[in-house]
Symmetry: C2
Subunit: 380 residues, 2 copies
């Protein structure tokens, strides 16, 4: 294998696939990046056995030469050091040559780097995925949907299935649900699809979705989602992102969400977020994060927290509307802040069905995002 390649493009590609590299892998070859050179370009592959990312750099792009291939070939190079050194090479042109068995020489300006490579034949094969159920979603929408749900996955390995986000596609559209027993996040979007494309019970690790989010372009360009029995593939321009699905059955969360509310409030998202943030600061000192919300007859909300050692924070904010029964309720302010921060809306609707029942947080408008948090059971 012998080629010269633009540092900028190689760097970007390494940046993408490196998201699949974990620092300590039990499979030594997975600490490397597989480097395949053909006449068409360079393909980089990295994997941690659960997720696999493949990036393709074409020899030419928009009429500019990116790669000059002298000899095709493959090698596996140590990911961490390879990524770091490429970034710091002095010239934008990088020459890479592999000599038998797998000895790499990288030249750029006055720098020469020798790397001990590994046999590409020993690198695991890409997952085989049946291309039956494919849907396409704009990148920016997919990123938003991930941001609005993945934060609420469980971090406890005691219930592995809850560390993932549940995806389904049917006549209602594409739907993501996450839940960690204390809170729930749900996002839907309409999506035209035929019955054969429908899927349900697809659970993807929240961590994986956060990594995926970093490589999805932040524009309207479409990301293909290919779902199979135990894998999902995200296909973007010159980038493939494979992930194993979480095994198990996701619990039915539909009964958690109330249909009717005793009390409904519409309030400015900014005022509510800032007030709860200040109350949170103090509640955090008590390690409980408990904040109390009291609805007043004069159309104001009183939000407060207290700490025996430090003192008390009391916030008064006006509401835009309030219907139903006046209520006192306590909740985890960190959870409420997390929920408020992923809702992109000026006005927020809060729904209550009593001091011991779930609190619903939704944007005012058409976007189907629903955040739910359970209240604290307190005596006052």
């Amino acid at each position: 294998m012998k080629l010269s390649i633009s540092k900028e493009h190689l760097n970007e590609s390494i940046g993408h696939v490196s998201k699949a590299i974990t620092s300590r892998t039990p499979i030594p070859i997975l600490s490397g990046i597989k480097f395949d050179t053909t006449e068409e370009g360079v393909r980089l592959t990295a994997s941690d056995a659960d997720i696999t990312i493949q990036s393709f750099i074409p020899v030419e792009k928009d009429g500019h030469t990116i790669i000059r291939v002298e000899q095709e070939g493959s090698v596996v190079l140590p990911a961490k050091f390879f990524g770091e050194i490429i970034k710091k090479l002095p010239s934008n042109e990088i020459e890479i040559e592999i000599r038998p068995p797998f000895q790499a020489t990288i030249r750029s300006g006055g720098s020469e780097v020798q790397l001990v490579g590994l046999d590409p034949e020993e690198y695991p094969q890409l997952p085989v995925i049946e291309e039956r159920k494919i849907v396409s979603v704009p990148g920016d929408l997919l990123k938003t949907m991930i941001r609005q749900t993945s934060y609420a996955v469980s971090t406890s390995e005691a219930t592995p299935i809850l560390t993932g986000v549940l995806w389904s596609l049917d006549e209602q559209g594409l739907k993501f649900i996450s839940c960690d027993r204390h809170r729930l996040a749900q996002r839907e979007t309409p999506l035209d699809a035929s019955t054969e494309q429908y899927f349900r019970g697809v659970v993807i690790s929240g961590k994986t979705l956060n990594e995926l989010s970093k490589v999805i372009p932040d524009d309207h360009s479409l990301t293909d989602i290919v779902v199979s029995d135990n894998q999902v593939l995200f296909r973007m321009d010159n980038l493939l992102f494979y992930s194993r699905l979480l095994e198990g059955t996701y619990p039915d969360t539909s009964k958690l969400i109330p249909n009717q509310f005793q009390t409904e409030i519409v309030v400015s998202g900014k005022l509510l977020t800032e007030a709860i943030d200040r109350a949170y600061l103090l509640s955090r000192e008590e390690k409980t994060n408990i904040v109390k919300l009291v609805m007043n007859e004069d159309q104001t909300l009183e939000i407060s927290s207290s700490s025996s050692e430090i003192g008390k924070v009391t916030e008064m904010i006006p509401v835009e509307s309030m219907t139903g029964q006046l209520l006192k309720i306590s909740f985890n302010s960190k959870y409420m802040l997390d929920a408020l921060r992923v809702i992109d809306s000026e006005a927020i609707r809060l729904g209550f069905t009593g001091a011991m029942s779930p609190i619903i947080i939704e944007p005012l408008g058409e976007t189907k995002v629903l955040q739910l948090i359970l209240p604290y059971r307190t005596t006052n």
Copy 2:
């Protein structure tokens, strides 16, 4: 005590004095900020017993009212929470009121914060410092001198005196020295002073100097340095920074610095830094940071490092001049990078007196900065 104060100014002042707060102090009252209100303004004081910072906010500045004092008084407020909540208050006007015994009420917009204060009488007195030896140095120069020396202090508590920077003032000017047994940094600047102002053997903790550096304004405005037997005071505009001096005798480092060189090289600081940075990347993988430098007859330097597992980095850079004997020498690349990064000079002079003797790194020019690192004793 009762007053209203501009959030922006209070915030800035809290930011300054908070640098003296440590998260775990054995003296409970030192986890607070002392708040003194007089007709002239507000004085904030924070301390960790070793350093004490005092910031003054005048009632008026440039014709703008910053504080409206209704009633003078003092209180000690919990530093961490007070600092955090002030930053997040909704309005730029903050009202603070203290009621007996030391109960603070802070109001801003729709927020009301109650804080449990402490008795200001229990707060330690400011260090008393004899104003005999005072010199003034422009803030930006003082910051540069600290940056060029404090990085090389020892981090080992086995030799506490070496965790400080040695300061002296005499007819040569103001001189800072730091040394951790593997490297030495020295910076001098001419300073007009009379014999009565001269001092020597003044050792200030490197950590303290880094904190000081953050509060010194980044301009030519003068910082007064007041030196006494066991304390030093830095006096800036509306800001006092007291520090205890380290006890003990700083070792004589003058003999470490060679007067004559077998070999002298002038080289571009940028080329040298970048080449060593790449070699460092690999040497770091071996945990030794060892990099080898070889001088060639064709007026080039070869800089290399190797790792049995990963490979080898070889860098060739041209020198601007090279006189004396050609040498091979090995050193800690991290130390060399640290030294190169604090020298603000395009061209660097390296001085050698043999493969086992200290390496001197200096800027080409008038600025009196000298960095010294000891080589590794290697067999090849």
